[in-house]
Symmetry: C2
Subunit: 206 residues, 2 copies
C-alpha cells in the first residue's frame, strides 16, 4: 500500500527522500490531520531527523501543498480523460463515477488529505488547488448537460446534481475503509449504478 502511495505521489523527478517524506506526511495528515501532525512525526516516519525535512521542503505547509497539488492533479486528470472519451454521456458518466469513486477508495489516505486538509493551505497554494477543483466540477456539469441534450439524462438542477455526484465520491475518503466494507472496484460499480438512476438514465419509460 505504501508502495502504491509512493507511486501515486512520486514524480519520477523527485529524489527518493522527498518521496519518502511525502508518503510519511500523507499517512500522518490523513490519520491525525495537518495541525495534529508534528514535523517530528513526519521526519521519524520517514526515518530522518526533524531537520532533514527542511533540506527537501522549506516548511511543513510546503509539504502539504505538494501533496495537495499532486493529488488534485491526479484526480482532475482522471476526470478529464474519462469525460473526453468517445462514448455516449451515460456510459461516460458511469465510468467517471466508477473510476473516480474507485480512486477515492484505493487512495483514501491521499484523498482524505486532498479533500479535508484544504483549509490548512497558505492562501496562494489554496488558490491553485481551488482552481483545479472548479475545473473538475465544471467538467462534471458539462457532462451532465451533454446527457440532457442527448436525452440520456433527466435533470432539473445541473449544478445540484453535479455537486451530488461529486459528494458521493468525495465522502468516501471520510469513512473508507470500514469494517467489512466493499472493495474499491465493487464500490465504484455500485455508486455508478446509483448515480445513473439519480440522473434519470436507463430505467425510464420512454
Amino acid at each position: 500500500m505504501t508502495d502504491q502511495l509512493r507511486m501515486d505521489l512520486g514524480h519520477r523527478t523527485q529524489p527518493e527522500a522527498a518521496r519518502r517524506l511525502m508518503a510519511a506526511a500523507v499517512t500522518s495528515f490523513a490519520e491525525r490531520g495537518y495541525h495534529a501532525t508534528t514535523t517530528r512525526d513526519i521526519a521519524s516516519a520517514a526515518g530522518m531527523s526533524p531537520a532533514a525535512m527542511y533540506v527537501h521542503f522549506p516548511s511543513k505547509a510546503a509539504l502539504l501543498s505538494a501533496i495537495s497539488r499532486t493529488g488534485h492533479r491526479k484526480a482532475l486528470d482522471l476526470v478529464r480523460s474519462v469525460v473526453a472519451r468517445d462514448e455516449p454521456a451515460a456510459k461516460r458518466m458511469h465510468d467517471l463515477v466508477a473510476e473516480f469513486t474507485c480512486w477515492h477508495a484505493q487512495q483514501h489516505l491521499v484523498a482524505r488529505v486532498v479533500q479535508y486538509e484544504l483549509h490548512a493551505l497558505p492562501d496562494e497554494d489554496f488558490a491553485v488547488v481551488a482552481e483545479l477543483r472548479r475545473e473538475t466540477e465544471r467538467l462534471v456539469r458539462e457532462l451532465i448537460t451533454d446527457g440532457i441534450a442527448s436525452g440520456a439524462f433527466d435533470v432539473d438542477d445541473v449544478k445540484g446534481a453535479a455537486r451530488a455526484v461529486l459528494s458521493l465520491a468525495i465522502d468516501i475518503a471520510r469513512w473508507y475503509p470500514h469494517a467489512a466494507g466493499p472493495a474499491p472496484e465493487e464500490l465504484g460499480q455500485g455508486y455508478a449504478a446509483l448515480v445513473l438512476r439519480m440522473l434519470g438514465a436507463g430505467d425510464r419509460c420512454e
Copy 2:
C-alpha cells in the same frame, strides 16, 4: 445565526456561560479545526479569560465532547422521529432526506464539528458517539428494507444505498455554504428527489 446555534446546543439546564463557550467553540472548531483552535481563541470569543473555561469544562476535549454528543443526539432524534411516522416508506424517505439535509445546511457549523472532528475525541467519548452513529445508519437501512418489502424501492445493496444516502447529507457540512448556493430548504427538497430516484422509487414503469 449565533442565536440559533445557542438554541441548538443549549440544554436549558446549562448556565449561560457554558452555552456561550460551546457556541464559541463550535465556530472555532468548524472554521479552523479542533487542533488549530486554542483555548485562548475559545475563551476570548466567549468574552472570558482562558482560565474561566475550566470552571465550566474540565478540558478542551470535554468541550468538543459536549458539542459532539449534543449534535449527534439532535441528528439521531431527527432521524428517529421521521422514520417512526405513520407514512409510506417513500414519503418517509423523502422527508428524512429533506430534513436531515436541511439540518446539515442550516447547522453547518455544528454539523462540521460533529462529522469531521470526531477523531479528536478521547476514546471513551468517541465510543459514545460511535454508537449514536451506528444507530442512525441502522435506522436508514431499516427504512430502505421497509421500502423494498412494500415494493416502493428497488435496491440491490441496502448497506451501500444507506451509506450513499447519508453521504450526500453529511458531505454538505464540508462545502456549505457556497457562493450563490441554495437555501437549506431548497437543497433538502432537491436531494430528497435525487435520493428517491436513486432508490428506484417513483418514476419506474409499474
